[in-house]
Amino acid sequence: MPSEETKERIIKAVDLARTVVHYGWIPFIIYVGYTRSNPQPSLIKLISPLA
């Protein structure tokens, strides 16, 4: 069983990872899609529902 200190550290790391994923997941998908798309779309078409 890990010590209390390690546990606290793990919980903090998990919290940080969750925050990063929460705010970073959609930008990450858009980045991956944008860079690997063929042909590469323009950014305005990506975000705006009307363009």
């Binding site: 546990k7 919980i11 997941w25 990450f28 998908i29 991956v32 899609g33 042909p39």
Partner: protein, 351 residues
């Protein structure tokens, strides 16, 4: 000499004979696996997809009320990259919402994310390592603490069996969470049986184990499928799905709860018509609910949805209408819709 003997082509039988594997455990294993290969059993599919066909016909997952609009824009076909804007309004059950989704998929990787205006994120990642191994991650993250869910899953499909391991909200510090493992094995060409174990550890010193049993019978021409799932607490779910023609299929679902103190059952009957420009589902269940769902395509990029449910016993009704608009920033050539060169060149539509 041997040319007169018909040689079986499909199951490659390993040549029996003295080799390095003549000691008994290896010998036994080799003979067992040779016998298993010679049976040529199909892969039974994953335990998660056990009732996939029936679920696709039943309209529980399609029903909605209020108004909804979905604007999806496909930005690339290969790899697939799509962004979606969705709007929900006027529903009796869920508050109005706006959601933005993004999806990326190539042969190995599938990424999907959807975030609503309150900042709740649902995300999905599937990574296929090779033909047999797939790892899936699924997360629901919300700003309010204690409502986030993370699910990690790995599927291994062998030639005639499927293994799946799943962990829901695993905590590395005290190993709490829900852990599931399932094994589904084809016994004959039609029948597959499986077992599923669930370990729930809500706190480090309290854990609970439950088992479930799965069975699936597929007819030889795959025109009908019957499944049954028996869960430890006396919950039985049985489904039956049949394809009547290429356009019509029907499904029946029966859920029985026979736990001490609670006895309940729900039967559902559904039919689906898959027409060229429309798909129609109708459903009737034993709680007196009649529901229908129509998806009508007016153009390849525009479809119109109507969904309705009448609860005859409670005298309540739900109606939903929706539109789905797909716009593309690509020319038809880029989408691969235009026939190969040699045909008459089509004028390029200007977006």
């Amino acid at each position: 000499m041997s040319s007169s003997i018909p040689v079986p082509v499909d199951p490659p039988l390993p040549a029996p004979g003295p080799s390095s594997s003549s000691r008994w455990p290896y010998n036994f294993y080799n003979r067992f696996s040779a016998w298993r290969t010679s049976l040529d059993l199909p892969n039974p599919g994953t335990s998660e997809n056990l009732t996939k066909e029936a679920k696709g016909t039943l309209l529980n997952n399609y029903l909605f009320d209020g108004a909804r609009a979905e604007l999806s824009k496909s930005l690339s076909m290969n790899p697939m990259f799509t962004v979606t804007h969705s709007f929900n309004l006027g529903s009796q059950t869920i508050p109005p919402s706006y959601g933005f989704g993004a999806m990326f998929a190539n042969e190995q990787l599938f990424l999907h994310g959807n975030i609503d205006h309150e900042g709740n994120l649902s995300g999905r990642l599937n990574q296929g390592w090779n033909a047999n191994n797939v790892t899936k991650l699924q997360a629901q993250l919300s700003g309010t603490p204690g409502q986030s869910v993370l699910q990690v899953e790995h599927d291994f499909s062998g030639s005639d069996y499927t293994l799946n391991a799943k962990a829901v909200n695993p905590s590395p510090s005290d190993l709490t969470g829900i852990y599931m493992g399932s094994y589904l094995q084809s016994l004959t060409k039609n029948l597959a049986l499986g077992v599923e174990g669930i370990l729930q550890r809500q706190t480090p010193d309290m854990s609970e184990i439950a088992t479930a049993y799965l069975a699936k019978y597929t007819s030889t021409d795959k025109s009908w499928i019957a499944t049954a799932q028996l869960q430890g607490a006396g919950i039985l779910q049985a489904t039956y799905w049949q394809k009547l023609s290429d356009k019509v299929d029907v499904a029946a679902d029966l859920q029985v709860v026979a736990a001490p103190g609670r006895r309940d059952a729900l039967a559902t009957l559904a039919a689906r018509y898959e027409l060229r420009m429309a798909s129609f589902r109708a459903q009737l269940d034993s709680t007196g609910k009649v529901s229908a769902f129509l998806e009508q395509k007016f153009a390849p990029t525009f479809s119109f949805l109507v969904s309705g449910e009448i609860d005859h016993f409670k005298n309540a009704a739900k109606v939903g209408v929706g539109v789905m608009i797909e716009s593309s920033s690509m020319t038809p050539e880029e989408m691969g819709l235009v026939p190969p060169p040699g045909h008459l060149p089509m004028p390029m539509p200007q977006p």
